[in-house]
């Protein structure tokens, strides 16, 4: 059964030009769905939904991390103190 997970991706200046979301869709069995994005010249933030088998989502997240993208589950962003 397919899982659906939501993440915030943070790209540094060096990564802003890399087509990493496209690559993830190509290399793994996941659908990528960008829900919100904000990109400036030195930082990129993307709210991304990934749909697919759990292991494939995990691989996609690993791929982002290996390429230097900070990956946080959406729920993470709300913890205080």
């Amino acid at each position: 059964m397919d899982a659906k997970k939501r993440y915030y991706l943070t790209y540094s200046k060096e990564l802003v030009k890399e087509p990493l979301i496209y690559q993830v869709g190509r290399l793994f069995k996941v659908e990528t769905n960008i829900r919100q994005a904000s990109v400036s010249e030195d930082l990129g933030l993307v709210a991304l939904e990934l749909v697919g088998p759990e292991q494939e989502i995990d691989k996609a997240v690993e791929y982002f991390k290996e390429h230097g993208v900070k990956v946080e589950p959406i729920e993470l962003g709300v913890i205080g103190e």
């Binding site: 939501r6 915030y8 943070t10 829900r35 919100q36 904000s38 400036s40 930082l43 933030l45 709210a47 939904e49 900070k70 946080e72 589950p73 959406i74 729920e75 993470l76 962003g77 709300v78 913890i79 205080g80 103190e81």
Partner: protein, 420 residues
């Protein structure tokens, strides 16, 4: 019956039902509680509020419950102290300290958010309450849950300082240490919230939880005689409190409780060792770049603040700004506050006062207008920060000759004794 309308996405404005939701299904933006202000305006008056008990529920029409609170009925209405001695030192005319260091029951402003979150969680039928925390939030959840008899779990990194663990364990809560970083604790909690159906106060109950902070702002305005200050300085961790204080002032204006329009400038304070929001504000940037925290102000050490964007916007829109202070400046400010006003604040209080001092000295905050400093937690919780920074007391034998010898050796320091 409450006056809450719906949960509304702060980004796209879509409405959602009043459930345990915190993220917009469409754009992933944060959800916020929306009220029926026209109806509130019809019933709320200064007299009605003044006739109620001295706690934050005197503003219950503007808090997100359907019925009456069932947790933390005595929370809030902490002193707003006119700080004459400190004002003299800073060279300002009108200075106040909103002192949540004496909030009930756990001595921090977190009692406000937790009592709202837990009351709402019970309304929604949750049986278990939980949080991931390293400090004030854990204390508050554990204390309030104990008082209302709700089963509760607190998740912490396993290598946390002993004093913090004890300060939570004492309430009989289930404390679970997690082998991992704080980020990993948070991730696990998100999964637990989903799988076990528990109320995590700052995850799935977040929109209600955050509303509790407004009471801090309501009280400032009422205690100033139904006026808002010209300037308010607020410590920032996740960045929620600063937004909610302004929201509180605006709501009071909206429902007709203020004579004058809100013209408050809002200033955010952070430690230099964890200043992602201040850095963005100073650089004029919209996006908040995460940092790795390294500061003694542990309760503010959130490197990736959830509400950072909104906090920065609040400062910008009101004409305020952000300021940061070094660890030494934090300690100096903690001592200054204690020595001038008899208020022992936690390190976050040192951040607030230290930043305010800089803003005044740099001419950003004028000396002849009203200023409120937000003190959010008690110094007894972070005593270790002062270790080695205070002069140790002299030790003498139990006889008068030794004391007199001490007096003569101490000179001006023991003024009263020297005169005697």
């Amino acid at each position: 019956m409450g006056f809450v309308k719906s949960l509304k996405c702060r980004e796209c404005g879509r409405d959602f039902p009043l459930e345990a939701l915190h993220v917009c299904e469409y754009c992933f933006g944060p959800l916020e509680v929306d009220y029926n202000y026209d109806e509130i305006k019809k019933v709320i008056t200064r007299e009605l509020i003044e006739s109620r008990g001295s706690n934050m529920w005197r503003y219950k029409e503007l808090l997100p419950l359907e019925g009456d609170p069932t947790v933390g009925m005595q929370v809030g209405f902490t002193p707003l102290v006119k700080a004459g001695n400190l004002a003299k030192v800073l060279g300002v005319e009108e200075l106040y300290i909103k002192n949540d260091a004496v909030n009930f029951p756990s001595l921090s402003f977190k009692d406000r958010v937790v009592s709202v979150a837990m009351s709402r969680a019970r309304e929604m039928g949750f049986k278990v309450v939980s949080c991931a925390s390293t400090g004030n939030l854990a204390n508050s959840v554990a204390a309030n849950a104990a008082a209302c008899g709700m089963e509760n779990y607190v998740f912490i990194p396993h290598n946390l300082e002993r004093s913090k663990v004890l300060g939570t364990l004492v309430y009989g809560t289930h404390v679970v240490g997690i082998k991992g970083t704080y980020d990993e604790v948070n991730r696990l909690c998100s999964e637990i919230a989903g799988r076990y159906g528990w109320a995590f106060v700052n995850i799935n109950i977040r929109p209600y939880y955050a509303e509790g902070s407004k009471a801090f702002g309501f009280e400032i305005a009422e205690q100033l005689g139904w006026k808002t200050p010209k300037h308010v300085v607020v410590p920032m961790a996740g960045g929620s409190l600063i937004c909610k204080i302004l929201k509180a002032f605006k709501e009071f204006e909206k429902v007709g409780l203020l004579d004058d329009p809100v013209e408050t400038k809002v200033y955010g304070a952070q430690a230099a060792g964890c200043n992602p929001i201040v850095r963005a504000v100073k650089a004029g940037k919209e996006l908040i770049e995460p940092v790795h925290p390294d500061t003694i102000a542990k309760s503010l050490a959130i490197g990736n603040p959830a509400d950072g964007y909104y906090a920065a916007r609040t400062m910008r829109e009101t004409g305020g700004t952000g300021e940061d202070v070094t660890d030494q400046e934090i300690l100096d400010a903690m001592k200054l506050l204690a020595e001038t006003e008899g208020i022992f604040a936690e390190t976050a209080g040192g951040v607030t006062l230290g930043a305010a001092k800089k803003l005044i000295e740099n001419g950003v905050i004028p000396r002849d207008e009203s200023i409120v400093l937000s003190i959010t937690g008690n110094g007894l919780k972070t005593q270790e920060a002062l270790e080695g920074n205070l002069v140790e007391p002299p030790v003498i034998n139990a006889n008068i000759a030794d004391f007199e010898e001490l007096v003569s050796r101490s000179g001006e320091k023991y003024k009263a004794a020297a005169k005697g």
